[in-house]
Each structure stands twice: as structure tokens, then as C-alpha cells.
Symmetry: C3
Subunit: 341 residues, 3 copies
Amino acid sequence: MKKTLGELAELVGGTVIGDSSVIIFGISKIEEGLPGTISFLANPKYKKYLSETKSSAVLVPKTVTKAAVSLIQVDDSYLALRNIALYFHPPAETSKHFVHPLAHVEKNAFLDPPVHVEAFAYIGKNVQIGKYSHIGAHSYLGNEVKIGECVYIFPGVTILKNCEIGNNVLIHSGTVIGSDGFGYAKDGSKYLKIPQTGNVVIADNVEIGANCTIDRASIGSTRIGKGSKLDNLVQIAHNVEIGENTVIAAQTGISGSTKIGSNVIMGGQVGTAGHIEIGDNTILGGRAGVTKSIPPDSFFFGYPARDHKTMKKREALLNRLPGMYEKIKLLISKSEESKSS
Amino acid sequence: MKKTLGELAELVGGTVIGDSSVIIFGISKIEEGLPGTISFLANPKYKKYLSETKSSAVLVPKTVTKAAVSLIQVDDSYLALRNIALYFHPPAETSKHFVHPLAHVEKNAFLDPPVHVEAFAYIGKNVQIGKYSHIGAHSYLGNEVKIGECVYIFPGVTILKNCEIGNNVLIHSGTVIGSDGFGYAKDGSKYLKIPQTGNVVIADNVEIGANCTIDRASIGSTRIGKGSKLDNLVQIAHNVEIGENTVIAAQTGISGSTKIGSNVIMGGQVGTAGHIEIGDNTILGGRAGVTKSIPPDSFFFGYPARDHKTMKKREALLNRLPGMYEKIKLLISKSEESKSS
Amino acid sequence: MKKTLGELAELVGGTVIGDSSVIIFGISKIEEGLPGTISFLANPKYKKYLSETKSSAVLVPKTVTKAAVSLIQVDDSYLALRNIALYFHPPAETSKHFVHPLAHVEKNAFLDPPVHVEAFAYIGKNVQIGKYSHIGAHSYLGNEVKIGECVYIFPGVTILKNCEIGNNVLIHSGTVIGSDGFGYAKDGSKYLKIPQTGNVVIADNVEIGANCTIDRASIGSTRIGKGSKLDNLVQIAHNVEIGENTVIAAQTGISGSTKIGSNVIMGGQVGTAGHIEIGDNTILGGRAGVTKSIPPDSFFFGYPARDHKTMKKREALLNRLPGMYEKIKLLISKSEESKSS
């Protein structure tokens, strides 16, 4: 696959500065640029590489107007990168129906062809799988699981009974969907398991990272809304509900029955209490420990998480603590002096 | 399956307020109540739904004495919910011996019938599996592993050589038991692996969530005591010992050789140092970072974790920091005024 | 397997104090010592067991000069333990070529014999596996994956397409290598996936714990350097680069494009921002939350992570906050008194 720089510029609606006729075969990192490839600049930290790169061209925001190397100026470097990456690395497509002879498919499962099933996949009773979907090796779809169209299940995913996955969903390896919620009744000092009778419902266009755990509801459904994206090792407890287009970075944990709004952005290693609400459009900084509900359009971080202005002020005061301590000592010694004088 | 409200009240030792003859077919969430089902109220946050729910009945604590909907009053709503959920959703039982032809069972493994083994399960040499146990698809039982009776291994669990699992244990998908502890000797700047020669021993009635990691001991055994419950993505390092009826919420990590007592409650995302002891009946708040041993009957949180009274006081003082800072500035300006006057 | 204490001392270059002729059959923990075994003492916390242990001998540092039990004095107890443990528990070796009939190996995969492949392993197209390597049950090697010599892949590991693993690497169960990085372009409120076109490259002598996630680079390679060791449940985001002989404890997460130096030591549950650099020889305490680059030879902890001296001072001042608050109140009341007087 190859295109001239001019053709790539056309593909992404950008403007060439330099030689439009140079031929591009692929993508490389600006700091490890290779001749014949195009690189990408968005983070200003990497601007220094613009003069050094061995790439044949660089995708840049419009603020960059010249360089030793040919450029494509674009409005949004990430969107342009995405489209160029899609050109050079088109996603695998399921175009012909194939079930590997070493897959296990229960007789009354319904696969709407074409579906691609790899070796050692396990497909339970009454499972439904939509057209163009891919079920990776060592994946497990429990009884009654429903999988939409154009779903890509990477190898080693476990989806337990009754769970429902929408269309155009990607689920990465090692993720478990529909494990039991953590619910017990106490009988003296013993914990008795409360049957977790619900399921997990994942809407269209969701992507879920590797080794995540999404527990089934005790009653009803744990829900992840349309277009939301979860990174790796994320824990979603029973009865959590997540809105649309919400992104959650790695190692975050959401406790039971908490509701996360739409267009929320959560950094990595965030944790929330259970039975709270995080409003729409809220941003939670990495490592935030959320103990109470947060209104929409907030920006919180820290533990216990608070508004970013409050937290920044607190951090500034903590830096001044040594000075405050010295001043108090000085005031006390003065006050004692003045008393004794 | 169905029962009248009166029969359900009898099942849970409760009192009907309203119509005992109404027929109940299942369970639903109070906020998404369905006619013909019973809902459940324990958390006062959800009390508002009592007047709105479309459920035919609600399980309530004795403090709730009337509502538009029929009620069953009980002493302990969680225990009552458990018993009703068990009635409508009885757990799967292994009643007939079945080994899927696509499972791999070494010839000298001993399965005490009835045992249920799903497709693609791997059962190593000299493995012993007790009666009524279930081994899920894609699960791996290494050589010499011992599994008790009535154990339910969900799909995709890995139990490595020599580990021992008691009776009535549940292990959720993706969990790894018996991975090597993180132990090295240093040789100059290189790390040389210390062979991890021990195993993991899990007592009766334990439940372990999804994608947990429980490392084998370097020497001896990593132990999880009777009736303890671990949520998802919990890390238990080598030589850790956990007592009985201890509950550990998701994403918590216990460092090597630490001893956790019995009846301990640990919130999510807790971390502990190695070689310390957490006493019986202690509560660790979510996100606690425990750097030292903690006596029995404590309630600690924060990082470094301290007694909850100390931590609450500190938090209150941190909220007053801006005021303290202003007052110090004022005192200084006054003191300078008085000097210059 | 057995040796006299004198022979074991020779093996580890130590000095016997006591009876050299006692026969040792294995290893036991000092606090659960067994006759006929040797125990190990390094942590002074366990010194009290020296007089009580039922072991026949104890490996000790040179500072311990006598005890009721026979001793081997050594310079480095961990190194000596390692060598004795290796004697009693030699690691499994792949000496004959074996591919289980229930493994799936694509025809054009190249296995350089001897290689050991367990049941239900999946080996994709053009995969290369070096001599003496072991591929555990339920492991997945995607197309074009390269595995070096003497590599041990535990059961249930997923290595996705194009990733490269060096020689003498150990990868524990449930770990996913080459999952997609978490990268999106925004189009209005929607997130569009940016194809993750790179791979993961793991150098020689690396060990990776259980249930880790190591994402492929968006462009180029995510890299883990020679001799580095990762504990369980560690998250390595796309384009991270880790140097040589760096150790990372459990549940730590490294955000995208961050560069970690060589000989770095990271405690458990550490988190770092993306696009930063952690210098060589730096130590990050457990739970550190790193928001900015850190120079070489540093020792940082806390959140936001700072130099340990600064953090210890801060912690000391936080402990004095109640006193400071009282003193300020006193100063104010005095100042008001003096004004009114």
C-alpha cells in the first residue's frame, strides 16, 4: 500500500507544505522516523524532533508552518492520524463464514453468517452471534449470550450466561463479563452468597480493554452505554451503569450500583464508592478517590476527591506548611518575649 | 417457579403487610420494578422508590410499616433477599458425571463421580477432584492439584501445580492460583529468580473473584482461610496468610508474608506492605495504604493508613488550612505593626 | 535429592557452624521448620524463630554467629537460598520435542526442536519459537509472533500478532501482550479508534507476572528491557519503554509513552502519568503517583510523588497540624487580649 503525500493530504483534508509527490508506504514515530513513512506531531514535547526526523513527511497542526521535512497541515492531528493509520492498517474483516473444527459450538447456537470462530472457542446453548462478528480462540460465550454484528472478541475473553453485547463492540483478551457481583448476607460471622441473578448489557460501539472484570447485576443489569471506552484492568461492579461516550483509563474501579454519566473522562487508577452518581461531562483526574456524588461538568481529583481548584489550593498550602510552621514558632517566641519584656 | 407472597414470607420468616395471595414469579430492582415480581429495599437512599415501584411487593426492614405496595417485613433484608433469590435462581448442581470429549484429562487424574468437566478443560497428572465439583471450559489444573467437593471453577481459571482447594469453593473466571511469587536475589545489577517452591492452600467456603492473582509461597504455603471472600482483581503475594471470614474488595493488593486476621473487612484498592499483621475484626477503608501492622478491632483508612479518628481530624484540619494560612499572615502583619509602632 | 550440610555450604560458599554431617532433604520456613530441612533467615523480624525452629539447619547472614541449631553463614542469604532452592527444585526443562495432538499449530509456524507445546495451545501463522521453549495450555501466539530460546510461557497467556519475545523469558498465566493501546481521536462527542499499528518487544531474561497487560504501540514498539521483572496485574500502556534490570511490583500502571530507566525499583500500586521520564536507579515507593518526570538516582513517594525527604517532612508536619491549629488559636486570643488591654 502506498500513496503520494498529496493523496494522503486529500484523504485527511489537509494541506501539503513541501513536496506533494513523495511516496509514503507507512507510518513511523517522529523520534524513530524512517524514510518513506509519515510521522505525526501533536504533543508539543516532541516538536524538537521535527528538525531531526528521518521520516519523509510529518502530520502537523496548523500552528506548524515550516520545517526541513515535508508537512501535511491538518485541523486535528489525531483524527488525521487515525485516517492514515486506517489506510495503511485496515482492520481485519470477517467476510467468509468459518468455524474452526476445534471450536465447540452447541447445536442450538445461532451464528448469522458470515461469522468467524477460531479454534478452542466455546459457544454455549442458545447463543446468538450477529453477522461479521469474530470470536477469538479460547473465548467462552455462556448459554443465552447475545452478540451483535461486527463484534470483535479477541482471544481469551469470557462472557458468562445471559449477557448481551451490542454491535461494533471490541473486547480485548482476558476480559471477564458477567462474573458474579460481590454480594453477601451476613449470618453471624459467616458470609452467605446472594445469588447474582442479573446480567451485563453492553451497548453499541463500546471498546473494553484487556483483563477487565465487569460483574453481572444482583438484580437487573450492569450497563455500559453506547460509545464508551474502557482501558485495561478496569473493574465494574454489579449494577453499575455507565452512560454514553465515557472513557475510563486503566486500573480504575467503580463500586456497586454507582451511576456514571455520559461524556465523562476518568483517569487511571480512579476508585469510586458505591451507590453514588458522577454527573455528565465530569473529569476525574488519575488516582481520584471519589467518596461522594459529583455534579455534572465538574473536574475533581485527589483523595477524597474534590474540585480541582480546592485541591490545587490545598497542594499549594501543603507546600507552604514548613514556612507556616516556622512562622508560628517565631510568633510564639515573640509573644513570649513581649510578655516577659 | 412461583409462590404467593404469603409463602415467600414464610420462606424468609417475615410478615406480610398487604395482600398475601399475590403471586410472585421473580425478582426485580425496586427502581425498575415489574408486576409479578418482588423487590428489595435495604439502603435508605432508595426509599423514595417505595411509592413509585411497579413491583407487586417489596422486602423491607421492620422500620418500614406501610406503603402503597404489599410488603414483607423482615429482620434482615439481605438474608431474606438471599433466600428468595436462591428460590428463584437455584445454583447449578453437578448431579451426573460428565467429561466433555474435548477436555484433556491425564490418565492418572482421579475424578470422584459425579464431576462435570467442560470442553477444553485441562486436568494434569495426579489431580484429585471431589464429588459434585464443576471444572469450567478453558480451566487448567496443574499436576498434583487437589480440588475438594462441591467446588465450582468458572471458565478460564488457572490453578498451577500442587495447589489445594477445599470444599464448597467458588473461583471466578480469569483467576490465577499458584503463579510464582515475586522473589529475586541480586547479583550485581542482575536479578536472579529464587525458585518458588511452595503452594497455595484455599480452605472451605472461600469465594474468589475474577482475574485475581494468588501467588504460591516461596517456601511453605500461601493460605486463604475458611469462609473468606475475595472480589475481582485482587493480588495476594507469596506467603500471605488470610484468616477466616475475611472479605477483601476489588483491586486490593496484599504484599508478601503479610498476615491478615479473621473477620477483617477491606475496602477496594487497599494496599499493604509486606511482613506486617492486620489484626482480627479490623476494618480498612477503601484505598487504605497500610505501611505498618494494625492491632485487632481497628478502623483505619488513608495513606499512610491511620486510625479513622486521627484521619478524620486531619481531613478537617486540611479543610481549615486556608483559614490557618490567612490567620498566620494577619498575626505577622499585626506583630510587625506593633513592633513598628 | 539430599546433601549434607557441609555439601550445601560448599554449594553456596558458606561456613558451617555446628554439625556438617547432618543430612538435608529440602527447605522449610523457619517458623514452620521441619527436621531434615534447612531454613532461611534474612529479615531480622524472624530472628526470634532461630531458637525455636525445628529445622535441622538455618542459612544466616554472617552477623549471626551462634544458635541452638546448626548454621550456614553466608554473605548474601537470598543468593544462597536461591542456589539451595535450585538444587532441591530444579526448573522444568524442555528436553524433547512434543506438540500435544490437541494443540493447534498453523502449518507455516516454525518450531525449532525441542519445543514443548501443551494441549489447547494456539500457534498462529508464521510464528517462530526457539529451542527449549515451552508453550503452556490455553496460550495463544498470534500470527508472526516470535519467541526466543528457553522461553517459558505458562498456561493461559495471550501474545497477539507481531509481538517479539527474547530468550530466557518467563511469562505467567493470564498475561496479555499486544492488546491495543488506548488511543482515540474525537469526532464531536464520539471517540474514534486510532488503529494501534505497532507491537511489543520484550528483551532477554525478562519475567512478567500473572494477569498483566502490555499494550502494543500505536506506532513503533512498546519495549521492556533486558532483565526487567514485572509482578502481577501490572499495566504497561502503548509506547512505554522500560530499561534494563528494572523491577515493578504488583498492580502498578505506566501510562502511554512514558520512559522508565534502568535499575529502577517501583513498589506496588504505583501509577505514572504519560509522556514522562523516570531516570535510572530511581526508587518509587509503593503507591507513588508520579505526575512529572523524575531525575536519575531519586527516591520518591506519595501523591503527587515527591522526593522522600520532602514527603517525610510533610508527613511530620501533618502530624503536628492539630498542635499548630491550637497555637494559632492561642496566638489570636492573646493578640486580641493585648489589643483590648
